[in-house]
C-alpha cells in the first residue's frame, strides 16, 4: 500500500430536522436542548407517523438548471451554501477541473417522479415541468457540479443507507488516485412517499419518536437532509483517517443478526487508520432503533472492542430521523462538529433511558457527559447488506 495523501475535511454544511445549518445542528447536540419537532406524515396504510422533515424554506434552483429541480437538489444547495466560500478558494488554488463532486443518495428526486407518474396515470402524459433528470440517481452530483461550476469528475454513490458514508470513502480514493485535489463529498435524501411507504411495508416505522437501544424500541423515524464536506488533499485540521467497507452477503433488507459484516467493516476501518480499538474516543451509532439493527450493532461493537471496552457511543437518529442515503454524511457531520469544538462534549444518546437488557452492554452517552475526543467513528449499515465505517481525527 502506498502512503496516503492527506484527506482534510476542511468545511461542513448541513441541513436536517435537527437544524437548518451547521451551527443550529451543533446547538441541538448540546445537553438539555429540546428534541426538534417532527412532522406528522400520513402513510398509505392510514398510519400517521413522525417524520424528520426540514421545515424552513429552501433555496430556489436557478432557471438554467430547472431540469434538475427537486427538493433533493434544494437540500443540497442549502448545505452547499455553507461551504461555498471554501470551495471557491480551493477552485482558485487548484483549478476548477481539479475539484470533484461525489455524493451519496438513495432517493435523488424520486418524489418528483412519483408525482409525475400519478399525473400521467390521470392525464395520459407526464407533467410539463417534469424531467427525468429530477429523479436520475446520478443527478445529485451532476447537478451540484453544474450549480457550483466545478469541472472535475462528478458521480453519485447509491447503496441505500450507506450511500453518503461510501461517497466520503470514495472521495478519499479519488484524492489518492491523484485525479483531483479537492472533492465536494457527502450527500442527501429528501422526503419520498416511496421510501415512507416502503419502510412501512417492511414494518420498520415507529408511531413515536424513535427510541434507540431501549427495551421499548419499536422502529425508526424517517427523515430528510443533506450534509456536504469539502475534502482537500492536505494534512492537518480534521482528517478522514480510515474507511472500512463490507457486505453481509446474507439478506437484502435485514442485517446479518450476528453482525459479521459490521464487525468486518469496523475492523477494516481501524486497520486502514492504523489505530487500535482503544484509540477510538466516540462512536456515532447507526442506531436506527429497529429491533434488529440495535441488537446486531451492539453485538458487533462488543466483539470488536471487547466487553467493557466499547468507547462512549450514541445514536443521533432521534434528532434527525433516519435520513437513509444522507445519514452517513449527516452523522459524519455530527462527528466533525464534535471534533471541531473545544468543549469536549459528546452527542447525547436520546432515549427513554430504559436500556434493553438483552443487548450486549455498550456505554451510551449521558446528558452532560464530556470527554477528550480526538478520534471518532461513524457506522452506516444499509439494504443489500452494505456496510461502511468512517474514522475521523481532530486537529492534535
Amino acid at each position: 500500500m502506498t502512503a496516503r495523501r492527506g484527506a482534510r475535511l476542511v468545511s461542513l454544511g448541513m441541513v436536517c430536522a435537527a437544524g437548518a445549518d451547521r451551527d443550529a445542528v451543533h446547538e441541538r447536540l448540546r445537553a438539555g436542548s429540546p428534541l426538534p419537532e417532527f412532522t406528522d406524515s400520513a402513510l398509505a396504510s392510514g398510519r400517521l407517523v413522525p417524520y424528520g422533515m426540514v421545515t424552513g424554506s429552501l433555496p430556489e434552483i436557478p432557471a438554467r438548471l430547472q431540469k434538475y429541480s427537486s427538493r433533493n437538489a434544494q437540500l443540497l444547495v442549502a448545505a452547499y451554501q455553507q461551504i461555498a466560500q471554501s470551495v471557491e478558494e480551493a477552485a482558485r488554488e487548484c483549478g476548477r477541473e481539479r475539484v470533484a463532486v461525489v455524493l451519496g443518495s438513495s432517493t435523488s428526486g424520486i418524489e418528483e417522479g412519483t408525482k409525475a407518474v400519478a399525473h400521467a396515470r390521470k392525464t395520459g402524459a407526464m407533467p410539463a415541468g417534469y424531467h427525468l433528470c429530477q429523479q436520475d440517481l446520478g443527478s445529485p452530483a451532476l447537478f451540484l457540479a453544474a450549480f457550483a461550476d466545478l469541472h472535475g469528475v462528478a458521480y453519485t454513490i447509491s447503496s441505500a443507507c450507506s450511500s453518503s458514508a461510501k461517497a466520503i470513502a470514495c472521495a478519499r480514493g479519488l484524492i489518492e488516485l491523484g485525479l483531483c485535489d479537492a472533492v465536494v463529498c457527502g450527500g442527501g435524501d429528501s422526503y419520498a412517499t416511496l421510501t415512507s411507504n416502503g419502510f412501512d411495508a417492511l414494518g420498520l416505522v415507529s408511531d413515536h419518536r424513535c427510541n434507540p437501544s431501549s427495551i421499548h424500541r419499536d422502529g425508526l423515524n424517517l427523515g430528510e437532509g443533506a450534509a456536504l464536506f469539502l475534502m482537500r488533499a492536505q494534512n492537518g485540521g480534521i482528517q478522514l483517517r480510515g474507511v472500512g467497507e463490507s457486505c453481509d452477503a446474507t439478506h437484502f433488507s435485514a442485517p446479518d443478526p450476528e453482525g459479521a459484516g459490521a464487525v468486518a467493516c469496523i475492523q477494516l476501518a481501524l486497520a486502514d487508520a492504523g489505530l487500535l480499538p482503544a484509540e477510538i474516543d466516540y462512536i456515532n451509532l447507526h442506531g436506527t432503533a429497529t429491533r434488529q439493527n440495535d441488537a446486531m450493532e451492539s453485538r458487533a461493537l462488543v466483539e470488536v472492542f471487547g466487553e467493557g471496552r466499547v468507547p462512549p457511543a450514541s445514536s443521533t437518529k432521534p434528532l434527525t430521523g433516519h435520513t437513509l442515503g444522507g445519514a452517513g454524511a449527516i452523522e459524519a457531520g455530527i462527528c466533525w462538529l464534535t471534533l471541531a469544538t473545544q468543549e469536549a462534549r459528546l452527542p447525547v444518546h436520546r432515549y427513554d433511558g430504559e436500556i434493553d437488557p438483552e443487548l450486549p452492554s455498550i456505554p451510551l452517552v449521558d446528558e452532560g457527559q464530556t470527554a477528550v475526543v480526538s478520534t471518532v467513528m461513524s457506522n452506516s449499515f444499509g439494504f443489500g447488506g452494505s456496510n461502511c465505517a468512517l474514522i475521523m481525527e481532530g486537529a492534535s
Binding site: 431540469k67 477541473e97 427525468l132 446520478g138 453544474a146 447509491s158 416511496l194 411507504n197 453481509d248 447488506g385
Partner: protein, 264 residues
C-alpha cells in the same frame, strides 16, 4: 493528463439475443442497441434468489460470475472482493411498478421495495457468491461507465483485481423522451488487474463542458432515439469483441478517454 496502467484480465457481456461470444463478435461489426425482455437463465443461482431477480439483477449476476469464471478457469466464478457497478437507470422498472402501486393507493410489497434500491443487484451478487468484500454502486447519467471505471481504478490501489460491471434495463417508455442516448438492455463485466497490459489516458476535455451547454431540454427538440449514440459501455463492448484492436475512445466526466493495449 493522467495515465493509468492495468491488465484487462477478462470480459463478459450479455444482452437479449447476444448470449455467446460469437454473437458479440458478429454484433461488433455493426453494433446496434440490443433490446428485449429476455433474461439470462442464471441457472447456478439458487431458485429462491433467482425468482426475486429483475432482468437487471439477472444480467449483473450472469456477466459478473461468467467474467470471473473466464479469468480463472475452474474457479467456479469466484468474484474478487472488490466490485463496482455502474448504471444510469438501475432498478427503474422495479421502481415504476412501486410508483404505479402508490398511484393506485395499493400497498407496496416489502420484498419488491427492498429490491428497488440501486444496489439491489450488487447485494444479490454478494449473496449469490458469498462475497463479503467492497461493493460500490454508482450512477452518473450517460457517464456511468466512466464513473464506475474511475472507482475501479481507485479500488485497484488496495486490491489486486476489481470487477467492473455496467448494466442497463430499458427504462420505462415515458422516460425515453428525456434520454440523450439509445435505450438498450445489456450488461458488460470487465475484470481489471494490476499490471501493464493496457494504458488509459485521461485528458481534460477541450470541447466546451457539457454543464455549460445545458439548457432546459424539451422533448420535441430531441433527435430521434435511433440517431442518438450508443451507451458508452456498448461502445466498449464493441472494442472488446473486435479483439481490443486500436484505441477505445470516449468523452466522459469532462475527460477524454483513450484506452489501448500496450505492445501492439
Amino acid at each position: 493528463m493522467k495515465c493509468f496502467s492495468f491488465d484487462l484480465l477478462a470480459w463478459s457481456a450479455w444482452a437479449p439475443g447476444l448470449e455467446t461470444r460469437e454473437a458479440w463478435s458478429e454484433w461488433a461489426l455493426t453494433p446496434y442497441s440490443p433490446t428485449g425482455a429476455e433474461r439470462p437463465s442464471i441457472a447456478n443461482v439458487p431458485a429462491a434468489l433467482r425468482r426475486r431477480c429483475s432482468q437487471h439483477d439477472r444480467m449483473v449476476l450472469e456477466v459478473g460470475t461468467n467474467c470471473a469464471a473466464e479469468a480463472i478457469p475452474g474457479s467456479g466464478g469466484q468474484v474478487p472482493p472488490a466490485v463496482v457497478l455502474g448504471s444510469r437507470h438501475g432498478e427503474a422498472q422495479v421502481t415504476r411498478v412501486l410508483l404505479d402501486l402508490l398511484a393506485e393507493g395499493e400497498p407496496l410489497s416489502p420484498m419488491r421495495f427492498s429490491l428497488s434500491v440501486h444496489n439491489a443487484s450488487s447485494g444479490l451478487l454478494s449473496i449469490a457468491t458469498g462475497n463479503k468484500g467492497v461493493f460500490r454502486s454508482i450512477s452518473a447519467s450517460i457517464d456511468s461507465l466512466g464513473a464506475a471505471w474511475i472507482e475501479a481504478l481507485s479500488l485497484l490501489v488496495d486490491h489486486s483485481s476489481v470487477l467492473l460491471i455496467v448494466a442497463e434495463e430499458e427504462p420505462p417508455a415515458d422516460h425515453h423522451p428525456y434520454l440523450d442516448e439509445q435505450t438498450a438492455a445489456f450488461a458488460l463485466a470487465v475484470l481489471l488487474g494490476r499490471g501493464e497490459g493496457c494504458q488509459l489516458e485521461l485528458a481534460p476535455e477541450t470541447a466546451p463542458l457539457r454543464s455549460l451547454l445545458e439548457v432546459q431540454s424539451k422533448s420535441a427538440e430531441q433527435p430521434s432515439l435511433e440517431s442518438r449514440p450508443l451507451p458508452h459501455a456498448l461502445q466498449l463492448a464493441a472494442w472488446l469483441a473486435r479483439g481490443e484492436i486500436g484505441e477505445f475512445e470516449m468523452s466522459s466526466l469532462n475527460l477524454n478517454w483513450r484506452l489501448a493495449k500496450n505492445g501492439r
